[in-house]
Structure formats: structure tokens, C-alpha cells
């Protein structure tokens, strides 16, 4: 699945990593001139300009004057769309994405294992992706916390984090958490049925409620003790339990739940559980049968983050259609197209085009599935997802319409900074190859390896 990486290609990627660090300054201005701007709000501005000030879009329109000292990028009629947001991925993480040692692992956190040197961050940029949601795998009914990142290639783990984005909790239903693909090492792991998967979540909710109560009682007693000015001894605190704190954060709505599910029955069932406990379930991951229950999804306000045409890789993923995403969208369900994969991440715009071709959605709707819709699912739609004044200057520049089968992403900006410039990258790569060649030649003459 991993793309073949040439040493030279990555050498150039590393170079652009160094360069991206150099372009800084909070209040610099960039004017992108003469582009075909797909705003993501339904409008396309031909011959439009985007003025970036600092990290934000200051103005979008025609014939904008360049402020003094502004850097100008001539788009020369190329297409610009809002930076693509991949709402379901597992890149930029170090180590396994699943903690398989237990069935409920609400205490583990992707934030602790961000790998800012994952080359896939750079590859994401080459496909116009500017933000991602990277998450725990689907081995556990309640897995770990996920996190939204901006593709600030070259920056530290802390600097990649999409500041202010709500944290998420990854859940999983169906075959994966019931461990049907286990390889026979160790004993069978509870739960082994779909019923058991749901029950294992409910059990944790009850435990977490007890835990929250214990702490609330303690806080009350501690406050009373404090008020008594030494008459009552302060109570000993309860033991901290990071797992139950994670579950408690789900119950309090602090964590937004992202639930891996394929089948309509299990989605309906978990909707009932979430309604009972007041859980902020924001999105079904994959949700291939979501098109069958659009009323229920819309009613709960739960989105679907899915594939354009990827199914039948296991039995629970059979009952879907190439029109599934389109059907959900047409019936008012918020739909995002995601990658779940480092390689697919670079061509999500092709996937969006498929929903136009096979599902008959409008081009605007297809673009929204890559931009404002995932932004809404991630709770960052006030910051990104459209090209409009006041939003982060996260932009992807294409040589043709992004939904054209032959389109190529040529430039990607995050926070108004150019993090990927294909022309420059290719030039650097060529230079690196030449340098490598001249370095190798004298070695050959002297005979033998060094």
C-alpha cells in the first residue's frame, strides 16, 4: 500500500521541509492573482484573487490591489479550492494504531504518538490535503482518542495539532471489535457478537457514571471541609482512572464520537444507546449502509464519512452502492469522503469526481464532501472548509478543475504558507539527482564501493 519512495524524491521533500520552515512572519501578505476560485460556498469566481494576510484569508474578489510588500503568486487561470480535509485517516502516528490489549481503551490518545516526520504528511500536501483527522483503529468498541492535524510539514508534533479542534473518541462496531479476524493467538476475546459489542460500551458508561459520582462526592466533601476551617478533616481523594475519565469525557460531550460501522442495524442500535446516554455521536465511519437509514441519521444529526467506491472487502461491507454517498447527501445527511489510507489521501479529488459521475451529485456538493462537510464533522468549519474572508488560508491549486480526471495538484498552502509547490519540488528533485550523479561518478572511476 505504501507508495514507492525514491531516495531522491524524499531528499527533495526534505529540502522543501527546510524551506517551509523559513517562510514565516505572522503579518506578511500574499496575493494569489487571476485564479478560478471554487469557494466551496457554491460560487466559482473566474479571474479571481485571494488576499492572504498572516495566516488568514483577508479578501476574495476580482482585481484586488496588492498591499505594499505583498508577495504575489500568479495563478494564471489555474483552479483554487479550499484545502482538502480528510476526516478519517491513520497517518502521522507512531506505532500501532490499535491498542489490542484491551477492549475498552478510552485512555489511549493519538496525541501522544504523533510522528511529525511521517513522509505521508508531505504526500498529503501533494494531493491538496491541508487538514486531517488521525485516529485509533477499529479493534475496540471504545478505542482511543483521535486528533485533527494541519499538514504543517516540518513542524513539531505540537505545532501540527489543529488548535481548538474538538478531540474525538473512536468507537467501532461489527466484525473488527468482535475480533472475527483474530489469528488464533491467545484466547477468544470478549465481545464475540454484535450484541456483546454494544453491551461492552454500555457497561463502561455505567462504570464511568459511578466514577464521576465518586469524584463529585469527593469534591463536595472537600469543599465542605475547606469551609469548616479545619473542623472537618479533608477526605482522601478517590483513585484516578484515566480510562474511566476518557469514558466520562464521552458522556459529558467533551469528546465527539466517531463510530466505525458498516451495517444499518448496528448503526440504528448504537443510535438508541447514544440517545439514551446523550452522547455526542457526530459521525459514522465508512457507514456503507447509511443510505438505508438516512431519516434516522438526519434526525440524530450524525454524518457519514465514507468512500466513493470501495466495498466488498469483507462480508459486512457488501451491501452498498456506488451511489451511497450521493444518496445520503441528497437526503440531507452530511457526507465526507475520506481516505483511511495514506495512498488514497493523495487523490481524494478523484474520489469526489466519482460521486458526480456515478451518483449524480453536483460538482459543488462533491467539493463540499472534501471541504466544508469534513470541517463540520471535525467542528472546525468556522476556521476552514471554504474560501472566504476570515478563514484560514488553507488552499489547493490545481492545473485543471479538481474534479477533472487529469487534474494535478500544483500547490498547497496551509495558514497562508506554501508547503508544497510542485514545480519547485520537481526542480529540486532534478538538482538532487544531478548532484547524486556527479558524486557517484568519481567513485566509479576509483573502482569499487566506498
Amino acid at each position: 500500500m505504501k507508495p514507492k519512495i525514491t531516495a531522491i524524491g524524499i531528499a527533495a521533500a526534505l529540502l522543501s521541509l527546510c524551506l517551509s520552515g523559513r517562510v514565516s512572519a505572522a503579518e506578511r501578505a500574499v496575493l494569489l492573482k487571476n485564479g478560478r476560485i471554487i469557494t466551496g460556498n457554491g460560487a466559482t469566481i473566474d479571474g479571481g484573487d485571494i488576499l492572504v494576510q498572516g495566516t488568514k484569508i483577508a479578501q476574495v474578489g476580482k482585481s484586488l490591489p496588492a498591499p505594499a510588500g505583498a508577495e504575489t503568486i500568479d495563478l494564471n487561470g489555474r483552479w483554487v479550492m479550499p484545502g482538502i480535509i480528510d476526516s478519517h485517516s491513520h497517518i502521522a502516528l507512531e506505532g500501532d494504531v490499535n491498542e489490542m490489549g484491551d477492549i475498552i481503551t478510552a485512555e489511549v490518545d493519538c496525541k501522544d504518538v504523533i510522528n511529525p516526520r511521517d513522509i505521508n504528511i508531505f504526500y498529503a500536501l501533494t494531493g491538496g490535503v491541508t487538514s486531517i483527522h488521525t485516529m485509533h483503529g477499529s479493534a475496540n468498541p471504545i478505542g482511543g482518542r483521535g486528533i485533527a492535524l494541519k499538514m504543517r510539514w516540518g513542524k513539531s508534533a505540537a505545532e501540527l495539532i489543529f488548535e481548538g479542534a474538538p478531540l474525538t473518541s473512536k468507537w467501532a462496531l461489527g466484525e473488527n471489535p468482535k475480533n472475527s479476524n483474530d489469528i488464533g493467538m491467545g484466547p477468544a476475546r470478549y465481545p464475540k457478537t454484535r450484541m456483546g459489542v454494544e453491551q461492552s460500551i454500555r457497561d463502561q458508561f455505567e462504570k464511568a457514571k459511578d466514577y464521576m459520582k465518586k469524584w463529585a462526592d469527593y469534591e463536595k466533601k472537600a469543599t465542605a471541609a475547606k469551609a469548616s476551617k479545619g473542623k472537618t478533616a479533608p477526605p482522601p481523594p478517590p483513585k484516578k482512572d484515566y480510562r474511566l475519565e476518557g469514558v466520562a469525557d464521552i458522556l459529558s460531550g467533551k469528546l465527539w464520537v466517531r463510530c466505525h460501522a458498516y451495517q444499518s442495524e448496528e448503526m440504528l442500535s448504537i443510535l438508541r444507546l447514544c440517545r439514551e446516554y446523550g452522547v455526542k455521536l457526530v459521525c459514522f465511519e465508512h457507514g456503507l449502509e447509511g443510505y438505508r437509514i438516512t431519516n434516522e441519521l438526519r434526525e440524530y444529526g450524525v454524518a457519514v464519512s465514507t468512500f466513493a467506491d470501495f466495498w466488498a472487502y469483507k462480508w459486512e461491507a457488501y451491501n452498498t452502492l456506488p451511489q451511497a454517498a450521493a444518496l445520503c447527501a441528497k437526503r440531507g445527511v452530511l457526507v465526507a469522503l475520506n481516505s483511511d489510507d495514506a495512498e488514497r489521501m493523495r487523490r481524494l479529488f478523484n474520489d469526489a469526481a466519482k460521486t458526480v459521475r456515478f451518483g449524480g451529485v453536483s460538482e459543488d456538493e462533491a467539493i463540499r464532501m472534501l471541504t466544508i462537510n469534513p470541517a463540520k464533522i471535525l467542528g472546525v468549519d468556522a476556521r476552514v472548509g471554504t474560501i472566504e474572508a476570515g478563514k484560514d488560508a488553507d488552499l489547493a491549486v490545481f492545473n485543471r478543475h479538481p474534479l477533472d480526471s487529469f487534474t494535478v495538484c500544483e500547490m498547497t498552502l496551509v495558514d497562508g504558507m506554501v508547503y508544497f509547490d510542485r514545480a519547485k519540488y520537481l526542480e529540486e528533485r532534478k538538482k538532487a539527482a544531478e548532484e547524486e550523479k556527479t558524486k557517484k561518478e568519481p567513485e566509479k572511476k576509483s573502482g569499487g564501493e566506498v
Binding site: 505504501k2 531528499a11 501522544d112
Partner: protein
């Protein structure tokens, strides 16, 4: 006749008596030594260009330019020698010998996991498993090393360290301090048991540290006033952890790369730990501002292998090897330049010789030789609370010194004598050729069966030329060439770097050969050890 018999009896008794006496060693005969007219690098002041050093009863009695030679001293002419404080390995594990354990697969299949399977062994003490001996000492002494800080390094809570002098095979005599530090690693369990992912390890560490602090507080509350309070349950792991989680004692974070270093700094800030960063990935240079801000102390490796998470490793073998030659060896020099307190660790180096070769690489890459000596003597002593006993040549300190021809750590240097704990060891000229001559020829194709959890069958092609071994490992993920293996007697050892799913793994094979069969083990850094057998494919 009875008279003669009686005399014979007496003679026998006398013979038996003498035979029963232990052979008296040199150090028992001479407790007073003088090294005369040597260049002395004391590390407590500028070097003394021509001075005398007096050692008496295990301690340094005097050192200086005009120190009189005591009458009872055995004199060593130091005119051609340089005297240094004995070097110390700030963190190693090669002196630990754990009993071999065969993995009980029935137990694993039943899911009956132990704390050890999970990597949770805070009770494991270096003192219990250290294996010292004359042969080992000689290996270290001839490189100038006379002491070492030893700690188990596998798992999550890896175990507790101890500090030894390389002076006496009796570990109780060689020991300086025990249970100094607790190792914390970021290695997930290789079994289906918690924690078996890096993110799980991080979460587990937080919970365990929090539990240990809670346990410590609950226990002291109860000890202070048992009336009206529930007695906390005893837990042997928390009992050990309590001292370290509350910063009464230091922990050592075993960091495989720069991300581990950042994770460690995060944990220490959250739980206010007393800590050292063992920079096993050699990437501290990537985290210098953070290390500086935290006031961290570093134990740096000199193995210089690019971690799999690095961009260099992701760029393929050629780029990785280039970085291992050009980038990573600069790490110690960059720490020195940044003024970050650091010592050097043998972790990651295969043996003492490789350790010293690594140090020499660091010197070539810009670490001043004087600084290298300092971080191998003065700094480790200071790190582990032994600055008044070890680390410099000063009166009153333990007599740990090295006498070498030429500058210590220079490639041409020859260590002639060491004094460890005041005992003299004389180093003989090394015979040419390190190991034993090969007594087997392993050239040919072998069918290899790896046992344990990673059970698989592999084919290996070996090519032996005298003691040198090269070949190719054929795996389901591709074929991987290797060179640089050795054959010594009937033992073979070789290292193969393989690439699986974009990750580079280093596998160390060592085995003993009997005719057409081979039996041994393969070690893979984080994942542990597996046994294997191999059979030569005829023809």
C-alpha cells in the same frame, strides 16, 4: 617405623594445608603503589605534565608534581604513560545474564499472561543478574573502562540499576550502589496483552505513575493514622514504583527516537519526576531547545543507528547509512556545544569494543577528546551521586585510574595498566586476531526455523571466508544481504537489516554450529529474542 609414619602424616597435613590456601593475588601483596613521572589528567584541574600518583589501600593517597614516593610503595615508571581517571559506562546492560526461558506457548494461547509478558518488571534488580568475571574485566580494562552503571532495558518498567567497579568477580565487592534508577521504556508487549501499542504504553505509564503516587500517599496516611482509615492493599510493583513516581529516586527514560524524548519530557513535567533521558536513537540533537528548557540530563548512545521513525530511515537504506555516517555521530558534539549535561551509554553497542569505536566516531565528528574523557568519567560519577567517590583523580577518592601509552581514546592508544578499587591489573599485548580460529565452515544454504510467537521458516545462504561471514536471508518480505558476520570457534554471529512494511529492523543472529545443524537466537531490538534452529540443505 611408627616415627616415620608420624612424619609422613605431618607432611601430608602440611601439604594439604598449603594446597587449601587460596593463591594470594598481587593486590594482596601490594596495597601501596606509586606511579612516577607520568602525565596525569586529573579532571579536577589542569593536567599535571610530570607528576606522581600514590595509591594506598584502595584509595588515592596523593597526586601532584612533587609528591614524594613512599618507601613501602611498589613503583611503576610512568615516564611513557598518561594517567586518566578510569572510564565509566553511564548505562549498559551487557553485564546482565538472565536465565534462559523457553516460551510456554500453551500459556500464551490460554491468555495467561504475566507482568513480564507485559514488560512490567520494576522489581527486576541489576544486582541479582549481574555476571562479572576476569575475562569481562579484561575486555573493558584494555579499553580504559573500569566501572559501569547497569540496568535491565527490556519492556516498560524495565528494572532497577546498579553501579559496579570492574574489580572483583564477587558482585558484592564490586558493587558501589544498588537500585539507583528505574528504567522506563516505550516498548509495547509483543503479546496480545495490554499495553501492546505505543499509545497504550504511554497511557499505561500515566496510570501506573498516578497509581504509585496514590499508593504512596494512601500508605503514609494510614501509617500516620490507621484509626478510621482503610488499609491500602499491598502491591509489590507499586511498592517499587512509589520511590520513583514521587521523585525520591530517578528514572531513566529509554528513548528510541526524538519523539520518545518529547514524550518523556511531557511525562516528567506532568508527574514531576527526577529523571535522565537515555538517548538510544541518538536524536537528542533534534530536541536541544526542549532539553535545555527542561534542564534534562542525557545518557547518549554512540551506536549511531537512524531510528525507523526518522526521515533518513524512510528514505531507504542508502540514505539511512549516509545519515548514520554523517549526521548521527555528531549528536554528542552537538550536546556538548549546547551545554547539555550528558554522559555516554553503551546501550545499542554490541560490545565494549564497539562502544569505544562509537566514541571514536563521535570524536571524529567533533566531540573534543578531553570532553569525551570528562563525560566518561567525571559526568557519570556526578550523575549518579558518586562525585565524591569517583570520576576524578583526587586524594581520598577510590583509586580507579587508567595508565595508557598515548592519549586515551586515541585509536593508537594502548592501555598498559588499570587500577580499579586500588587493585592493579596489567594488560598484556593483544594477540593478533580477536576471536578464536573458526573450527567450522558454514558456507551453504540453510533452512532456518524461528520459534516462538514469530514462528516462521526462512532460508539463509551463508558464505564463509576464514573468520568472515556474509550471505543473504530470504524471507517472505524479500531477500536481504549482509556482510560483516564472524565465525569464531564453532560460533557464528551476524547482523541483518531487513525492511518490513517500510520499517527497517535490525536482527542480530548468534548461533552455535554442530556439523550440519545450528542452534541459536535472534534478537530484534524492541520485539525481544526468539530461538531458532537451522539445518544445512544438502548440495
Amino acid at each position: 617405623m611408627p616415627h616415620t609414619r608420624y612424619r609422613l602424616f605431618l607432611l601430608t597435613v602440611a601439604l594439604l594445608f598449603f594446597a587449601g590456601l587460596p593463591l594470594r593475588s598481587e593486590q594482596d601483596l601490594h596495597r601501596v603503589w606509586a606511579v612516577k613521572d607520568a602525565r596525569i589528567v586529573t579532571l579536577s584541574g589542569p593536567p599535571i605534565e610530570k607528576g606522581n600518583l600514590i595509591i594506598r589501600d584502595g584509595l588515592i593517597e596523593a597526586v601532584g608534581a612533587n609528591i614524594p614516593i613512599p618507601k613501602d610503595a611498589e613503583v611503576i615508571d610512568g615516564a611513557k604513560l598518561a594517567v586518566y581517571p578510569g572510564l565509566m559506562d553511564a548505562l549498559g546492560q551487557s553485564l546482565l545474564k538472565f536465565p534462559e526461558e523457553k516460551l510456554d506457548m500453551a500459556r500464551i494461547r490460554a491468555g495467561d499472561f504475566t507482568d513480564k509478558d507485559r514488560g512490567i518488571t520494576p522489581g527486576l534488580a541489576a544486582l541479582d543478574y549481574v555476571s562479572l568475571g576476569k575475562a569481562v574485566f579484561e575486555k573493558y580494562h584494555k579499553l580504559g573502562f573500569v566501572a559501569g552503571h547497569v540496568m535491565p532495558d527490556r519492556g516498560v518498567f524495565t528494572g532497577r540499576s546498579a553501579f559496579f567497579l570492574f574489580s572483583d568477580p564477587d558482585k558484592n565487592k564490586a558493587l558501589v550502589l544498588k537500585d539507583i534508577c528505574l528504567g522506563i521504556g516505550f516498548s509495547p508487549s509483543s503479546f496480545l496483552v495490554y499495553p501492546n501499542s505505543l499509545m497504550g504504553v504511554h497511557a499505561y505509564l500515566k496510570q501506573a505513575l498516578s497509581d504509585a503516587i496514590f499508593f504512596d500517599q494512601a500508605r503514609s496516611r494510614w501509617l500516620k493514622e490507621p484509626r478510621g482509615q482503610a488499609r491500602p492493599d499491598f502491591n509489590p510493583n507499586l511498592e517499587v514504583l512509589a520511590d520513583f513516581a514521587t521523585a525520591r529516586k530517578p528514572v531513566i527514560f529509554l528513548c528510541r527516537n526524538q519523539n520518545d524524548i518529547r514524550r518523556s519530557l511531557g511525562l516528567t513535567a506532568e508527574y514531576k519526576l527526577n529523571y535522565y533521558i537515555a538517548d538510544l536513537g541518538g536524536e537528542a540533537f533534534e530536541v536541544i531547545p526542549e532539553l535545555k528548557k527542561a534542564g534534562a540530563r542525557v545518557l547518549a548512545t554512540v551506536a549511531f543507528k537512524a531510528p525507523g521513525s526518522s526521515l533518513y530511515a524512510q528514505r531507504g537504506r542508502a540514505e539511512r547509512e549516509k545519515a548514520e555516517k554523517e549526521v548521527y555521530p555528531k549528536n554528542p558534539a552537538r550536546l556538548a556545544e549546547a551545554g547539555i549535561p550528558f554522559a555516554l551509554s553503551s546501550l545499542g553497542s554490541d560490545d565494549p569494543k564497539a562502544f569505544v569505536e562509537g566514541i571514536q566516531k563521535a570524536i571524529e565528528a567533533g566531540l573534543a577528546r578531553e570532553k569525551a574523557v570528562e563525560v566518561l568519567a567525571k559526568t557519570p560519577a556526578a550523575f549518579f551521586g558518586l562525585e565524591r567517590a569517583l570520576g576524578t583523580i583526587e586524594p581520598g577518592k577510590i583509586a580507579n585510574v587508567v595508565l595508557s601509552e598515548g592519549d586515551l581514546l586515541a585509536k593508537e592508544a594502548k592501555v598498559r595498566f588499570t587500577f580499579v578499587d586500588g587493585r592493579r591489573f596489567e594488560l598484556k599485548e593483544a594477540k593478533p586476531g580477536e576471536g578464536e580460529k573458526p573450527t567450522v565452515n558454514v558456507s551453504g544454504k540453510w533452512e532456518m526455523a524461528v520459534e516462538g510467537q514469530m514462528a516462521m521458516n526462512l532460508t539463509i545462504e551463508l558464505s564463509q571466508e576464514e573468520a568472515a561471514l556474509s550471505g543473504k536471508l530470504i524471507t517472505p518480505f524479500g531477500a536481504f544481504d549482509f556482510t560483516g558476520g564472524t565465525v569464531s570457534g564453532k560460533d557464528v554471529a551476524f547482523e541483518i537489516s531487513i525492511s518490513v512494511g517500510g520499517q527497517d529492523l535490525d536482527l542480530f543472529f548468534s548461533a552455535s554450529v554442530e556439523g550440519e545443524r545450528m542452534r541459536g537466537s535472534v534478537v530484534q531490538g524492541g520485539a525481544g529474542t526468539a530461538e531458532f534452529t537451522a539445518k544445512r540443505i544438502p548440495g
